[in-house]
Amino acid sequence: MHGTFGETADAETAIIPEMKHHSYSRVVLGRFMRQPVAMTAAGILLVIILAAIFANYVAPADPFQTRVARRLAEIGTPDRWLGGDELGRDLLSRLIYGGRISLSMAVLPVAVGLFVGGLLGILAGYAGGRTNMAIMRAMDVFYAFPSILLAVAIAGALGPGLMNAVLALSMVFIPPIARMAESVTTQVRSYEFVIAARLSGASTARIMREHVLSNVAGPILVFASSQVSVSIIAASGLSFLGLGVAPPNPDWGLMLSALRQSIYVNPWVAALPGAMIFICSVCFNLVSDGVRRAMEVRR
């Protein structure tokens, strides 16, 4: 009888064809690619981001070059395809270049929030007890203010400028990401495989590294990526209020602010920066939604 139990789980597989094994990341990628909406959104974002990165090759004109004759030019004007702005600069080029500042202003605060908030949240979640209480109550203080108001207040206190705006926005995204990280970590910590790891005598650092991080990273990343769509609007809001970069730097929020007086003269041109903000925000949302759906574990 000894040792014969090797066969038990085995008999059926001789007849039924083998299932292919794929690593988790490949499975998620495959599932993501089967979602047409998310894939389209990802494609649009990719085009916008690449255009911003390679703006000096892609942009048809110098974004700072003013030309009085092209002030508020119609869409379709030969050397101003998407029209001209209030100083006659090429709007298309300014939109492409503007992506650099606008997108970094959107992504950087979330990245900072992800790092700081994620760290605090995982720490609070895994430690539990008083540490959890201290960290999470501190986070709750930030929830007392509406997020955009908080950003405006901080940015206002620090003064205008790109770095200050990023700093202000980071403060907005730390608490929600921390809260999310804390709840996921608390949940993972209660799973039997973590308890079994604790029972085996492994150190906390090892359990964190090998068991906890890999299981909380996904959900936290997805949540953070969904925050980018909020961040892009908040960042544009700050620029709109003059708390971001200074003119003549191209930035979608700033462009919207400058062009809003011209809305009765040429509404189409004035709407374009707004459209960019809107498209990016929606696309970030759809992509993060698609990733979340692709990550749902099922057979």
Partner: protein
């Protein structure tokens, strides 16, 4: 496909025996755990007495079964003994040495002496780790090189009936429930414990798979000389695998005896009712009337005296007055104990057995 543990190169040494064969492997004494729940915004705190003064022993090579219904505290007891949940009071002696007390807990090497196998679920295995990684984790945490740990993990897979050639690189989601439970067992064994606490290890499995896993557990016990603390709500399973059975009700032990004794002659009315509630597999021998009425009471407000008295068919006034002690049921010392006034001589319960004065004298 014959895998024998004695021929496997285990990278971790066996934990040495200290107390000799007569020393129980595990002595749990006076375990107590209360959970405080805050009750709404203005409500005071409610206290659940999850485990109340629980003591039990597990001998070397012995399998002790704990049975009871949901909320009886059997799973909490398991977690207290393993040291996952800190106890409010009590002590665990492992092979003659203190394993933990509420103030001090052992660490390092000896900690791996007690391992747990949980009920199969989606969260029992790390979904991001292959089976090899899962099984190599424990030994690696004890300083075994990754290479050795992985080789041992493959051997272990084979030993629990999962051919490593096909299973080593699989992820938990690619397993059936029974296969997952085999991995759970292998993971617990990977760091060579002496006592396995099995918390409902077969409850989530299909009946046809349950038998496979039980056979595996019996084989492993015999081959490795393990002791089991086996927790289940299924009386058939406990009767099959356990040498001794402990019955719990609302956080307390109500009866304890050898498997043969308790199933042949249960002394506590709750144990009798529990046994009689078991559906018969033969349609000609159906249960005609339910042995108990109503649900188990809320553990937040357990009844005074004997906690079973509110559902007990033979409850009397003495049962409400004070809690019956867990007392020996025989003079011979077979270890059959029950906590029931009706089974205790001279208790004042009308059904309590009359005893010759000589025996009574020796008890006092």
């Amino acid at each position: 496909m014959t895998v024998d543990f004695s021929r496997m190169q285990a990278p971790l040494p066996l934990i040495e025996d200290h107390g000799g064969p007569q020393q129980p492997l595990l002595i749990a004494s006076g375990l107590r755990k209360e959970f405080r729940l805050s009750d709404g915004l203005f409500g005071g705190r409610t206290v659940v007495h999850a485990v109340d003064d629980l003591s039990l022993t597990v001998g070397k090579g012995e399998t002790v079964g704990i049975v009871g219904e949901s909320g009886c505290g059997k799973s909490t007891a398991a977690r207290l003994i393993a040291g996952i949940t800190p106890a409010d009071d009590g002590e665990i002696i492992f092979d003659g040495e203190s394993f933990w007390t509420p103030r001090a807990r052992i660490d390092g090497e000896r900690r791996r002496a007690i391992q747990m196998v949980f009920q199969d679920s989606a969260s029992s295995l790390n979904p991001r780790m292959t089976l090899t990684e899962t099984l190599a984790f424990g030994p690696r945490a004890h300083g075994v090189s990754t290479e050795k740990a992985r080789a041992y993990a493959r051997d272990l897979l084979g030993a629990v009936g999962l051919p490593p050639a096909r299973f080593a690189e699989r992820y938990p989601i690619q397993l059936s429930g029974g296969q997952r439970q085999r991995v759970n067992i292998a993971r617990a064994l990977a760091i060579r414990p002496r006592l396995l606490i099995l918390d409902e290890p077969v409850s989530a499995l299909d009946k046809s798979v349950e038998a496979q896993v039980l056979n595996l557990l019996v084989d492993l016990r015999d081959q490795l000389g393990l002791s089991y603390l086996f927790i289940s709500h299924d009386l058939n399973v406990v009767r099959y695998i356990a040498d001794r059975v402990v019955v719990m009700y609302l956080g307390q032990i109500v009866e304890e005896a050898s498997s043969a004794d308790i199933f042949a002659a249960p002394r506590h009315p709750y144990t009798r009712a529990l046994f009689a509630s078991k559906p018969s597999p033969d349609p000609r021998k159906r249960v005609s009337a339910p042995p108990l009425t109503g649900d188990p009471p809320d553990p937040v407000n357990p009844p005074s005296g004997c906690r079973f008295r509110t559902r007990c068919p033979i409850a009397e006034s003495v049962c409400a007055a004070s809690r019956p002690p867990l007392a020996a049921m025989d003079v011979g010392g077979t270890g059959h104990r029950a906590a029931c006034w009706a089974a205790l001589p001279g208790s004042g319960h009308s059904l309590s057995p009359r005893v010759p004065a000589s025996v009574l004298g020796s008890v006092q």
